[in-house]
Amino acid sequence: MPASAQDLQRLTVTRLTLSANTVAPKVEGPFDLVVTAHVRERVMGLRNLDLPILASELDVLGDEHSLVSDANGTTYTEDIRVVAHHSGLITIAPVTLDAIDARDGRAKRYSSNSLALVVGGGVLAATQTFDLTGVLFAALRWLLILAVAVLLVRLLAKRPRKPPPAVVPAPQPAPVPMVRPAATREERLRDARTVLEAERTRQNVLRIRTIVREMVGASDAETLADVLRRLEPEERLMRALLFALERAAFTHDDDLDHAIDRVILRLNDLAGSPA
């Protein structure tokens, strides 16, 4: 079940990989799957890390994880000791991590690489006796494994090269409601008008004033007069809106309602009247 937005950690994920400690695991020979994640933040744990459901060919023998924090962030390592009971190709699904990307504030699902392993032959039993049929069967089995391996190599060679399988942000899932910034000036002004009409408060006036000042590139040190000096004369409607906002921001409480009416009027002038 996907985590809700409130449960997600705010992380800057820099690495998420899945690997094995051997390239040629043997049947009944234990080996380790290693999950490594690195984030820039110093955290006590990774809450929404999902490990792959291992195929029935693999049995989990044990699990050990460690968390190391330093000035560069936190490195999470998990060793899963497994064993394969049959030879052949085993594909292990990617590890996923759900988090809010600290760089843009959006909820993302990070995925590691997947892993494909070819499990080789097992250890012969000590009591096994030599017979021709057995040798032929063994040779046939090895030939089959070799053919599958060659086929795999050829298939992989044909596929386009991918960048190293580190952090791959998955397509955006829907669980977290994100406020999409309005694309155009008109849209932003329309949003501002909707907010102000819904809640006619000085606090909202101040918020809209900040947005509009940003739109015209006003710095912290600039007063209204400074901004008006910079604006082109044809920006008449924007000038009127700026002055209306200034009045609504600083006038006395008795005049606030009239001042907000004036702001809404000016927003209509600039963003178009509501349908």
């Binding site: 912290d220 040190a221 007063t223 009045r247 600083f250 006395h252 005049d255």
Partner: protein, 308 residues
């Protein structure tokens, strides 16, 4: 209120060419009930502006030329013995007027300056056993000449602080000077007729006092004054006093009234801040030796405080 302060400004502008800063400062001082210090070379219409203001208000105007041999009694008045009546009578000095021009205030010794500044602060004068209240409105405009420093007595910081506003009067532009030539070379200057009464001034002051100053702007004013104490410390020995905070608030309200608003805007605060801070900040010698200029440092200080 029969007239607005804007009418007064327009009347002064009909007589004085340019010097809008001086005209506005005089009216701001009048509305905020404070005194104005004008610093500038001779011949820049400082006296004319004061005369015009008194005439436009239908008030009484007096001019005192400060000299090294001036006595306090020459300003506030004295008691003389009347031989016919065989008793002392009080002769009030020139400080008893609505608009007083203290010309070259730094040419008189400290005790004379103190006598005037005390009258400015207390708005009353004690001569002998009697205390005389000064007329209302009472506005002192003092001038200082920055060019002739020889034989002058610099005003101490504590006394400078008594002035609500200090204006640096600068030379007019070429166009303004041409206008001066055309206006004054042809005929006698047009006398200024009264456009407001002294009662109007009292009403304006009450209206200015009622103008809304938002809490965000009060914080802004405090931050501006604090900046003079904490920033640009390589050029500033001491910052402005809390009297500057009050002065900026009064002046910002007066500015809003002139612009016909009943609330103050950040622009009002920004416009009046240099007038209230210029003479209250102690700039050190580096401002001169490094050719930075106190105005530029003050502008930087003001610009360093974010506008609410």
């Amino acid at each position: 209120m029969s007239a607005s302060p804007r009418v007064l400004a327009d009347a002064l502008q009909r007589t004085i060419v340019g010097q809008q800063g001086v005209v506005e400062a005089l009216i701001l001082g009048l509305l905020a009930n404070g005194h104005v210090l004008l610093e500038g070379p001779p011949g820049l219409a400082k006296t004319l502006a004061c005369r015009a203001l008194a005439a436009a208000l239908d008030g009484e105007f007096k001019r005192i030329q400060f000299t090294p041999d001036l006595l306090p009694s020459d300003i506030v008045g004295t008691r003389i013995f009347d031989q016919h009546e065989s008793r002392f009578s009080t002769v009030l000095g020139p400080v008893f007027a609505n608009v007083v021009l203290a010309d070259e205030i730094n040419r008189a010794p400290a005790k004379v300056q103190s006598a005037l500044l005390e009258a400015m602060q207390e708005r009353q004068v004690t001569i002998g056993p009697q205390t005389h209240v000064l007329p209302d409105p009472f506005l002192v405009m003092a001038t200082m000449n920055p060019l002739d420093a020889e034989g002058t007595y610099a005003l101490p910081a504590a006394q400078m602080d008594r002035f609500l506003i200090k204006v640096d009067v600068s030379y007019p532009s070429r166009d303004e000077e041409l206008q001066i030539l055309e206006r004054f070379a042809v005929a006698q200057t047009q006398p200024v007729h009264a456009v407001a009464t002294l009662a109007d001034v009292c009403a304006w002051r009450e209206a200015a006092h009622a103008i809304h100053l938002d809490a965000k702007l009060k914080r802004y004013i405090v931050e501006l004054v604090a900046a003079t104490r904490e920033r640009e410390t390589q050029y500033v020995d001491y910052g402005a006093s809390p009297r500057a905070t009050l002065a900026i608030a009064h002046l910002a309200r007066a500015k809003a009234l002139i612009d016909d608003r009943d609330f103050v805007l950040p622009d009002d605060v920004r416009a009046v801040a240099p007038l209230a801070l210029r003479h209250r900040v102690g700039f050190n010698f580096r401002v001169t030796t490094e050719n930075v200029g106190s105005s530029r440092v003050l502008d930087r200080l003001i610009a360093s405080v974010p506008v609410p």
